[in-house]
């Protein structure tokens, strides 16, 4: 199955293990990721805070490339997904966007990878590849803001309670805990600009994941991962209690359960080393 692939800037940097695990899992599932030719940045939050047209034109440039291939477009980043969908909705509504010529057909869908894997491949394809069920791994799935909000843009059926990641993890054999914080905010770029605000939001997620009985949090966004994994010492210092919670990309756990040999390398890139937990559960 061929799809256009829009990795996003973080995949080349802080989210390297996400990119590596995405590629490994796609290969095993038979998804042929065709990296979008000469893709450029979607503009993320900085473009929409600065100029409305810039916020549409930056992602739209990539949509025009995708339009020529006609293949469905997949991205592993929540912010990229949001900006691509915003531009797509505007183009479909006939808005004129700087740098985009007339004649956008939009004959392809745009999906976040976690939804794509569950909706297009689903349980059967995952079970076929499952070698090492994630038994006893207690986890909560954390989607963050932009995979589902606002539904007018994302087309999310249930913006407060998405389920694709939960379904994937359950199929992998993990003990997925229910919680009410799936789509709460991690603080996004406040991690740089107003860290004390961001850490308060992250602390809430850690406390609630703990209350739900989870040993780990599973994410589908580079910025969510960075905010939750990289800064646990700062969050702990501000909260006055010690947190050490493994944070996984959902594709890392898919790779692990599929028996991919790269998994150890991905986990080695984390700030909170998840390997002790995985060894304790007999998964490494």
């Amino acid at each position: 199955m061929e799809v256009s692939y829009y990795p996003g800037c973080s995949i080349e940097g802080v989210a390297r293990e996400y990119g590596e695990s995405v590629e490994a899992v796609a290969r095993m599932l038979g998804i042929d990721l065709k990296e979008l030719k000469d893709w450029t940045c979607c503009g993320a939050a900085s473009a929409h805070a600065t100029d409305d047209m810039l916020a549409l034109a930056l992602p739209a440039r990539n949509l025009e490339t995708a339009d020529k291939t006609g293949l469905d477009l997949v991205t592993p980043c929540a912010a990229c997904y949001s900006r691509l969908k915003h531009a797509d909705k505007a183009l479909r509504a006939g808005e004129k966007i700087e740098g985009v010529s007339d004649g956008y057909r939009g004959d392809f869908s745009i999906k976040h990878l976690v939804d794509f894997i569950w909706e297009e491949l689903g349980e059967k394809a995952i079970l076929e590849k499952l070698k090492k069920p994630l038994r006893d791994l207690k986890a909560v799935c954390y989607y963050g803001c932009l995979i589902t909000r606002p539904p007018r843009v994302t087309d999310a059926g249930n913006p407060d309670n998405p389920e694709s990641m939960d379904n994937i993890l359950q199929t992998l054999g993990a003990e997925v805990k229910n919680w009410s914080y799936k789509t709460d905010c991690c603080g996004a770029d406040h991690a740089l600009t107003m860290p004390e605000v961001a850490w308060k939001l992250v602390q809430k997620l850690f406390d609630m994941a703990g209350e739900a009985g989870a040993d780990a949090i599973v994410v589908a966004c580079p910025l969510c991962h960075s905010n939750l994994d990289t800064h646990q010492e700062e969050v702990s210092a501000q909260a006055g209690k010690r947190y050490q919670i493994p944070i996984f990309y959902f594709t890392e756990l898919m790779g692990l359960a599929f028996g991919d040999s790269g998994a150890e390398k991905w986990f080695g890139r984390h700030f909170v080393d998840p390997r002790p937990l995985l060894r304790q559960k007999g998964l490494l």
Binding site: E12, G13, L58, C185
Partner: protein
Amino acid sequence: MTVAETKDKIIPRPSLRKKIEDLSGQQISACFQCEKCTNGCPVTFAMDVVPHRLMHMLQLGLLGEAIRSDTIWVCASCETCTTRCPNDIDIAHVMDTLRQLARKEGIKTAQKNAPIFHSAFLSSLRRHGRVHETEMAVVYTLRSGGLGGLRRQAGTGMAMFKRGKIKLLPPRVKAGRQVKNIFKKVKR
């Protein structure tokens, strides 16, 4: 400052309400102060004006006060307010419009980090076609915290480098010129 705390008598300025409605494309006058935006907002604890009160300020035409508020920079763009507004006001987008206006009017704000971040992010994107995270983070840290700030972040930087998360060279993208053209056309 909130509307309730304003000592002076407020004289509504419908023309300024109209201005923000036109700029944002949102019918702010439809807000009936149900407070769903404020109740769902995860960062009200750090705001000086909570979202429904900001909407009320805008209805009264207190645009100058709105673009000087901390709130427009504290907002994390999580889109919860937009998703829940019963009157379909895209409140997160109104926040964007206020940020854009504050920037155009050169408003000095106590929340200086967010504008520095956006500028560092967009400069890197404009230069390379993609954001070079390392460059963006260094430029942002220097401009917001000076050399002391950079020293404080050095430990995290080294830890990220050891984990292979720091790309030293900027990305090379053939479509860089097209991105520069987009910036030129929107006159940044």
